[in-house]
Amino acid sequence: MQELINRAKELLESGEVARVLGWKAGDLPYNPEPAYFEKAEDLKDFVYNGFCGANLSKYMIEASKLEGKTMVCLKPCDTYSFNQLIKEHRVDREKAYIVGVGCKGKLDIEKAKKLGIKGIESVSGAEMTDDCDTLTFQTIYGEKSVAYADVMLERCHVCKGKEHQVYDEIIGESKDTKDAERFAEVEKIEAMSPEEKFAYFQSELSKCIRCNACRNVCPACSCRKCVFDSTKFDSAQKANVDSFEEKMFHVIRAFHVAGRCTDCGECSRVCPQGIPLHLFNRKFIKDINEFYGEYQAGEDTDSRAPLTNYTFEDVEPSIVTERG
């Protein structure tokens, strides 16, 4: 982390960048939050550890409009999102100084809580320089250690790899934390009967409080104005009895990001209700891979997205019925 702060200081002081986009410590030891640092002395609050799950690429949309360059810290998986935003002309590559930060898997505090860890005072073992094998919590009930992998975010178990897709320099080491099949959960649902599928999604989606956290955090959901907030589709009628938005929000949101979603997993990470929203996006990714060939959004900045492309021989929609 110190290396990162030193470099940030250097860049700020030399005037090469006008600000630094990173994380600062939150009010709890496990909730750092995204922050801009405009002066070298502010960097004392800078943190980067296993709890810095937030994908900062979306902040670059606004940062691109600001005067001067912004140093942004991107983890390997965040760089896919950044690439996708370049492709969609939403961020300006010239306005970004990308420091590819090392990542050894990010943590899900909810998982720790589920393991019975409460009253956390401090955490160790989640720093950049740590091995990230074991995580130790100092709690008011004493010290508790757990395997790092047991409290890792779902997305890190299906890590896309430790390589940064776009960067100006790299600081820190990364680790490929993949230990699960990316589409295993999707396949489990696919194998269910229609009744089971419906029951599953109905119970999950019934938890939704329409807080829009998923939409706000999603780097692909970067529309200036969401269709659900505009009058273009008669879909934003919050005062009316019309409930189209309420009912179809997640399916439509997933469709809108299909072929553009990099599977960064932020939607599921931020959902206060714990809805596994990534299962929608990942279903589209799986289908796209199967129907139109392997495609990873954000791997490059110039290929045609699956939904803006076609071949004469594409499968017919009836394949959905035919495969049973």
Partner: protein
């Protein structure tokens, strides 16, 4: 479970037809007097690629029991490529609907040329029959709220 009324189930079916092929195919079915059930109501769109998945979800949410999209045969699109995009969009949408447990027979895409009045009529007859076998759409009415 409430007692079923004896009233015959009359499905609501929305058919989106592209102006150049399928709508003309439907016209030909009409001028050839090739009957299909009155449950099918056609909405004219310039091209199958004009059909936004939101329209389809909207129809279901408003009580449609089936939605069918008809366009020119791949390669014959009046706008060259429109139906290719429509094909991908619908394939993914239908797959998603299947994934969340909506009976996949409620959605269909069929390529019907201006010369295929017979095919249009046959397709609609088949589709209505299919919707009859599936019965009323209850799932897509509301994905979120439990009753």
């Amino acid at each position: 479970m409430s007692i079923e009324t004896n009233e015959e189930f009359r499905p609501k079916i929305v058919a989106f037809c592209c102006n150049w092929c399928s709508y003309a195919g439907a016209d030909l079915a009409g001028s050839s007097r090739l009957a299909y059930p009155a449950d099918v109501k056609i909405i004219r769109v310039p091209c199958s690629c004009r059909v936004n998945p939101m329209f389809i979800l909207r129809a279901f949410e408003k009580g449609a029991d089936g939605v069918i999209l008809c366009g020119c045969h791949p390669g014959d699109c009046h706008y060259s490529t429109g139906n290719f995009y429509a094909r991908r969009r619908m394939t993914l949408l239908f797959s998603m609907l299947d994934y969340i447990g909506v009976e996949n027979g409620r959605t269909r895409v069929e390529w019907v040329s201006a010369a295929e009045g017979v095919k249009f009529s046959q397709t609609m007859n088949e589709f209505v029959e299919k919707i009859h076998s599936l019965g009323k759409n209850v799932r897509l009415g509301d994905l979120r709220c439990k009753n």
